[in-house]
Symmetry: C2
Subunit: 345 residues, 2 copies
């Protein structure tokens, strides 16, 4: 395209078909189940496996703030949050469809960056972009993504299979993304009030966890390798407490979680303390970590023991015993769900 330097290109100049052509022309399908991608009334898929399908919708001003979210990160994260749901079923993501509504004030350069992030995520996770829809909106950006994954029927893990005495595990560490968000929100306010540039030195870890999360592909591959099939699984998008409630409700069980065993990174703890916040709070109730929470049979404990990325935090109990947090001094506290609710802001 020929354009004057530094002049953003308006979407209206390209038109909807021109924009779609530009955004999809370099797609090469990687998976054998992706028969036909973008370019017809619908995409075509053929697989002998069982499929899992998830969808997510992200709206500007609710799920993301363009003041501190680079468009490439936004595209990357929008894909990742859906891959995370697929891995939480113990499946592998294969196809993605993206629909995006945005006002025609948005520049082509912005859209290109957003899609470059999306394609990067798809490349990193072996996923094909097979379709989508691009349209204008009166104001703001809305991104809707659907991802289809595959697994053998007997591999699929639901939320409802946890049994009494099962061990409760989480991957990675918790609360980091939430503290990253708090940091960005505070510095945005400081910048808006007094124009001071933010200093994030030493705190990059929590920013990255919020802005560029990864899905737990490695853990799902590890569990397959060591032949452990979780009895129940969920991804942590709304906070550990809320997700534990989903598993316990659907499996009709109770649980016991040891505060001392909940993994928290030291940067997360440091930033939390800087906000006068007990680090346990973001770890329990902060969202968007996209770690996995799962339960395994006690007999599988020895198999997962060598792997630092999987941490045992408690075990499943009888439903009547309820959901419990065990404090470091041995007290029982009720585990309350206080996940993120977009209607309660």
């Amino acid at each position: 395209m020929i354009q004057e330097k530094n002049q953003p290109t308006e979407l209206a100049k390209l038109g909807e078909f021109g924009l779609i052509e530009l955004l999809t022309k370099n797609i090469k399908l990687k998976n054998s189940s992706s028969i036909k991608g973008v370019g017809d009334d619908a995409a075509v898929i053929k697989t002998t496996k069982t499929q899992v399908v998830t969808t997510d919708i992200l709206t500007e001003g609710i799920h993301f703030d363009l003041i501190y979210t680079p468009p490439k990160h936004l595209g990357y994260k929008a894909a990742i949050v859906n891959f995370s749901d697929i891995y939480a079923m113990n499946a592998t993501p294969k196809q993605l469809l993206i629909s995006i509504a945005m006002s025609n004030k948005i520049s082509l350069e912005f859209v290109n960056e957003l899609y470059s992030g999306l394609y990067l995520a798809c490349d990193n996770y072996g996923v094909d972009v097979i379709g989508g829809d691009t349209t204008s909106s009166v104001t703001g950006i809305t991104i809707s993504i659907t991802v289809i994954g595959e697994a053998n029927s007997n591999e699929i893990v639901y939320r409802n299979g946890a049994k009494e005495t099962d061990i409760i595990c989480v991957t990675g560490n918790l609360g980091a993304a939430y503290m990253g968000l708090q940091l960005l929100e505070r510095e945005k306010q400081v910048f808006q009030e007094i124009g001071a540039q933010p200093d994030f030195a030493g705190k990059e870890y929590v920013l990255e966890r919020f802005l560029k999360p990864e899905a737990k592909k490695n853990v799902i591959e590890l569990l397959k390798k060591i032949k452990v099939k979780p009895t129940s699984m969920i991804d942590i998008s709304d906070g550990l407490a809320s997700e534990m409630h989903h598993i316990c409700k659907q499996s009709q069980v109770g649980c016991k979680i040891y505060v001392a065993k909940i993994p928290i990174d030291y940067v997360t703890a440091e930033v939390a303390e800087n906000f006068n916040l007990e680090p346990l709070i973001p770890a329990l109730n902060g969202g968007e970590d996209y770690e996995l929470l799962f339960t395994i049979n006690v007999n599988d404990f020895e198999k997962i023991k060598p792997y630092a990325e999987i941490r045992v935090i408690g075990h499943i109990m009888n439903k009547e015993q309820g959901l419990n947090l065990i404090t470091e001094d041995g007290n029982f506290i009720e585990l309350k769900a206080q996940g993120w609710d977009t209607y309660a802001q």
Copy 2:
């Protein structure tokens, strides 16, 4: 729910989980390929057939105007436009996922109506709602729907299979939805300016075609019954001219379309004339009719001949001959694509 009469219920009172629970509690899966629906990280599907997948995003103020669109019709139409894409692949829709972003000023009653329209469409077309996402937006409503359909591999019809001498067919009649939209827009303006209530007597047909379209399930079933497999097919969402361009471009062919053979309902013609518009204009360039445009081998002509719902409007020519309209007095005019572009409004 207990609530004061006539008081709209705020979404914030229910919360996101409460809303999802309320909207999905009555779902019963109908299709054998729908293994698990709403309620886990992802839905689960198992089929031996080939699948087709389509997605669409609709934004308030661009695709629909709540002043004259009842929420139940909106939900119905949002599903139908996706079913139409599935039928245009010669497949049958089976599963649907709906994501909706809406401000918390919207009442639960509105959302309930919208979903009742969506469920009605799914019941009428034998489709299962297997998942979705519900979230808030800063302003307005955005609806994103993904539909998955099934077919045998050898049944799928693409846009790129039209061959020279093939016959070009359309279903139903064209331009009605566009004239329905024009009528609604004009009466909205009259109402806003002088408060006059609209009088739509005798024009209900074009309103219904715009507000409550149907997908061409019956035609796809008929073609199967009479053993006709189209060589190419597309649904008419952006106008006949634009869709014919897609088929010719992808099939690398030209075409000849007879103006006199383009089916136009008399109500459409009447309303068009009332707007001082040549009825051919909405028939060629008006969108949202959701009829099917397809090509068949000449040898199949006798098979389709008895069926009034399928009209032959021309035939496929060599690419070099271009895309042509033949007027009633035998003149050739170039067929130009002037479909709807949301970025060019």
